[in-house]
Structures are given as structure tokens and as C-alpha cells.
């Protein structure tokens, strides 16, 4: 009985496929770009920055002739044609360390964001969908963590776990779980009330079916935006942790660590040791922020009224 009453029309429209999503996103993009005089360049610039740095990460050899750890150069030399960004106190080429350092920070930031998403999204979905006492407790816990300064939490974790790539990733990931949780839970609560979900429930669709067929695909759109902004945030947190010396063992090229090294030599005026790694952090974070905001504009053109 329930079977043949399924609102197939509604359902087929809500089924999610990557190709469909992409094409509708492009459609939405060009439409809203026209209607709201959208600043599409934000998205494009963000994409360009991210793509460029990703390329650099995967093919560092194309960008730098030096190895990031070779100490063959002159020490503390200002930028010159041989070393375009100068050298550090150990005679390492700063540009090489910027190029190779992108691997560390991107690796940590992306895996940490993925990890928080993997934990936070299902928790948020289930919590929001269930809406019972467990939801209340979980929300309270997540809200408490969320209200606490993320960096201090990450510092505590990193301090307990000790240095290491995996450990720093974990420390960064913990901070952002509540973000996904709150976002997804909020959206789930909203979508649960939508007529088509109500209809699916009324015709006897199983809870898990409603959850994954209707709620999840709708949440994904917002998650994409937040994921991109989250990577930007994670970049800042990773760099901060390694700047204060809690992140990584020596030997791994890392922008934050290079900055703290540069700080020691700052009174002698070696500006190149701090300028370039910091610029790199900023540019990378900016790229992901612009990407996220550009996406947000497509998904929610109303924001553009402002």
C-alpha cells in the first residue's frame, strides 16, 4: 500500500548525484551571478590560489632547486638571485622551506578537517534526527567545547600527546568537531520539518531512509562551504601550534616553526625569515576562505544583498 503511494516525483528531484549537483551548482552560479551582480571573482581567485599551492605541494621539485633541509647555503643571507627569499641561520634556503612546508601544513589542515567532519557530521545528523535526551546532553557538551577557546584546547591536547604529525592533526581536529556538529544538527532540525520529509515519513519510509535520502544530501551543500572555511581555520591553528613549539619534531619543514626560528633572529633585522613563511600562511588561509565564501554566495545568494 505504502509502496505505490510513494511521491516519486518529489523523491526523484531530491535524489542526489554528483553530476546533478555540479550542473545545478553551475546553473545556480550563473543565474545568481547575473541577478545579484555577484562578485564571482572571489570564488575564482580562491580557486586559483588553492590550485596553485596544491600544485606546488605535489611538485615541489618544479619550484625549488634546493632541498628544504640542506644546510649548504650561506647563513642569514638576505634575498639575492641565488636565494630569492634568502637563507636562514642554518644556511637553508627560505623559498625551499616555503615550498616544502606547504606539504606539512596542507596535510595536517586537510586531514584534521576531514577527521572533524567525519566525527561531527554523523553525530550532528543522528543527534538532530533523534532529538531526545541524548541529543540534549550531546548538544550541551558540544556547545561547551565550542564556547572554549579552540587554540587552548588544541594546546592542551598537543601538550599531552607530544610532538608528531599525527598528534598535531588530532589536536587540531578536536577543536572543529563541535562546529560540524552544531551546523549539521541545526540543519537537520530544519530539514526534518520540510514538507517532503514529512511526506516521506507519513508514507512510512524508514527512519534511516529519510535520514540518508533526504536529510544528508541537503546538509552536504552547507558542509562543503564550511569545510573550505574550516581548512582555512585549521591552517591557522596548525601554524599557531607549531609556532609556539608544540607541533612537530625538528626536521619537518613547517611554516609555523620557521616563524618561531625567525623570531629569535628578529633583533638582528633578518626580515626575510619571518616575512615569507607568514605570507605563505596568510595566502593559503586566504585562498580557502575566498573559496568558501565564493561557494557560500552561490548557495545563498541573499547574502549578496549586503
Amino acid at each position: 500500500m505504502a509502496e505505490n503511494m510513494k511521491p516519486t516525483e518529489v523523491e526523484s528531484r531530491r535524489l542526489w548525484s554528483p553530476a546533478g549537483a555540479l550542473s545545478s551548482a553551475i546553473g545556480a552560479f550563473s543565474r545568481s551571478a547575473k541577478r545579484y551582480r555577484m562578485e564571482w571573482w572571489i570564488l575564482v581567485a580562491g580557486l586559483l590560489i588553492v590550485a596553485l599551492i596544491l600544485f606546488m605541494t605535489f611538485f615541489p621539485g618544479l619550484f625549488s632547486a634546493y632541498s628544504p633541509n640542506s644546510q649548504d647555503g650561506p647563513q642569514l643571507k638576505a634575498p639575492s638571485p641565488g636565494h630569492i627569499m634568502g637563507t636562514d641561520n642554518l644556511g637553508r634556503d627560505v623559498w625551499a622551506r616555503v615550498v616544502y612546508g606547504s606539504q606539512t601544513i596542507l596535510g595536517v589542515a586537510i586531514s584534521a578537517s576531514l577527521l572533524s567532519a567525519i566525527v561531527g557530521i554523523p553525530l550532528g545528523l543522528i543527534s538532530g534526527f533523534a532529538g531526545n535526551w541524548a541529543d540534549k546532553v550531546l548538544s550541551l557538551v558540544m556547545d561547551s567545547i565550542y564556547s572554549f577557546p579552540g587554540l587552548i584546547l588544541a594546546i592542551a591536547f598537543a601538550a599531552m600527546l607530544g610532538p608528531g604529525v599525527v598528534n598535531i592533526t588530532l589536536a587540531v581536529a578536536v577543536v572543529y568537531v563541535p562546529k560540524y556538529f552544531r551546523l549539521v544538527r541545526g540543519q537537520t532540525l530544519q530539514i526534518k520539518e520540510e514538507p517532503y520529509v514529512e511526506a516521506a515519513k507519513a508514507i512510512g519510509a524508514k527512519r534511516s531512509t529519510t535520514l540518508f535520502r533526504y536529510v544528508f544530501p541537503n546538509v552536504i551543500a552547507t558542509v562543503v562551504v564550511v569545510f573550505s572555511l574550516n581548512i582555512a581555520d585549521a591552517i591557522m591553528t596548525e601554524a599557531a601550534l607549531s609556532f609556539i613549539g608544540l607541533g612537530l619534531p625538528a626536521g619537518i619543514p613547517d611554516w609555523g616553526m620557521d616563524l618561531s626560528m625567525g623570531k629569535k633572529f628578529l633583533p638582528s633585522g633578518t626580515w626575510w625569515m619571518i616575512t615569507f613563511p607568514g605570507l605563505a600562511i596568510m595566502l593559503l588561509a586566504l585562498g580557502f576562505t575566498m573559496l568558501g565564501e565564493g561557494l557560500a554566495e552561490i548557495l545563498n545568494p541573499r547574502l549578496q544583498e549586503y
Binding site: L140, F148, L151, A156, A159, M236, L266, W271, I274, Y306
Partner: protein, 338 residues
Amino acid sequence: MKRILNYLIARILLTIPMLFILLTLVFVVLRVMPGDPVSSMLGGHAPQAVIDAKREALGLNKPIFFQYLDYLGQLARLDLGESMNFKEKVSTPILQKLPATIELTLAGIIVALGIGIPLGVRSARLRRTWQDSVIRFFANITYCIPVYWMGLMFQMLFGVFLNLFPIAGRVGTRVDSSEFDRTGFYIIDTLLKGNFTAFGDVMYHLVLPAVTLGLTLSGVFIRMTRANMLDSLKSDFVLATRARGVAENRVVYTHALKNALIPVVTMLGLEFAALLAGAILTETTFSWPGMGRLLLERIYNRDYPVIQGIIIFYALFVSVVSLLVDIIYAVIDPRVKL
């Protein structure tokens, strides 16, 4: 007044479960996670007997649940325990460093609001002009500038190259530390003693750290102020006030801005956590002797009771500020249902 009092009580009651969860979280992170504080503190080569004795003394040999009860009991007595490395109570170094952190944080807020609100208003009033674009670009960029990097660049530029500002510490060496024995807030102490040269020196040292911290946070307030200003400039009551012939400046600054600032106040509470995080990094950069520096020092020394105490203090700090913000909100908005 009674309205505010009732509200206050309700709000404090709401803070308790949140604080409890945070305290539990601190416990979990510092005690349940892998890593043995005692052996790492004693350096790994200590004889087992010594380690055991120390564990016994710290109560770390009990089952974890009883450790948790001990921990809560201690906190309930407002006792944070003893330092592992120094002969001092945990609260001693914390209370000594707290004023420095509060001073820096408040100065940071003042700078952030002092930049954020006027620029946000300007940006809203000049919507879609080049000035608006520049301000919005600046706001977006501040999100992505690491606060410690901006601090380093300022130190390099204003300290090393131009030699305009000091780059470390709260005060110069010429000022005697006995000047600050009253409250630990250098600004207040110097004013209490009427020592204006010392006061000037304190302010002079505060400039770079406060501007660094404030600038990186100003972006949020620019965006927030701008968006809310645009909303309230469009609102019916602004139009109606104009139609009654009230002067434009008054319309904008009394009506539109006041209404736009209410969400900004809420934002201030939410952003305070970010401000504290930024303060830790700023303290590191400017060798500012506050709680953040203390935390990092004790992490290197593996002084777990103090680390725990500091984190608890931060949790308290956040709760108190969010309470304050809610009270301010209740005072300025007559609509808050109490």
C-alpha cells in the same frame, strides 16, 4: 533593577552545567589521555620506587573515577593544588600573571571595537563605493593574518627598523617592580601611585601588542557592524525618524547604530574565546608575562597541576565574560524577556 537581578540569577544557574562540562573535559584531556605525567616529569630514568611515591602523593594511583571525584572536590574547595616543580600553590603564579592577560585582552577589545565599529559604519554608509570595497577587503584579510605574524612584522618594522616602540615586556627596566605591588594591573597601580612617567611607559609598552591583537579581531566586527548597519538603515523606524525631520547624524548614530550594535554585543561574547587564543599568541610574540606564557612555560616543564589550573582559569574567564555580555545585553535591550 529587579528584572536584571532575576535575569542574573537565571543566567548564572545556566552557566553551571557548562562550566561543569568544561571542567570534566579538562580532566579527561589531562588525566585520561595517554602519557604519564610523573615519569615524564622525573625524566624517565628515575627509580620505580621514586615514581610510585610521587604518584601516591599526587593521588594518581587511585582508580580514575576516584581521581575525578578528588578533582571535583578540590575545585569545590577552590583549591587548585600544588605545583609539581616548584614549592608553590598552583594559584600563586596564575593570580600573579592574570592581570597582565586581562590588561592585554581589554586593550585588544578596545582596539578591535575602536577599529571595527567606525569602519563597519563607514562601509555600510558608503555601500558599493570603492571605500566600502577597501574596508571589506581589509576585514576579510584580517581573518587570515596570523596574529603572531602580524606581531612579528610590527616588531620588525616599528621596533627594529624604526625604533619607535618597545617590542617586549609590560614595562621598561627603568621602572621599579615595587611600583606594581597593589593590584598587579600596571595601568591601575601606576595611576594609584600617581606615577605618571611609569604610567606612560606602561601604555607605551601596551601599544604594539594591543594593536596587533585588536587588528586581527577587528575584521569580525567590521563585517558584523556593516551587515547590521545595512539592516537597520533600511528599517522602517529609521525612515520614520527621518520623516520627522530628525537630523541625519542623529538618525544614523543614535537609531541605526544603536540597534545595529546589539548583535555586535552578542558577537563580542562569542569572539572572546578567539580573543583569548589570540592573546596567548600575542603574549608569546611580545614576551608579555601573562597566563598564556605561563601555560607554555609549564608545558615545557611538564608541571601538570599548573597546566590544569591555567586551563580551568581560562574556562572561568570565558564563562564570566559571556555572563557579563548577557547582562550588558539585558541592560541595553528593553525587549529581553526575563
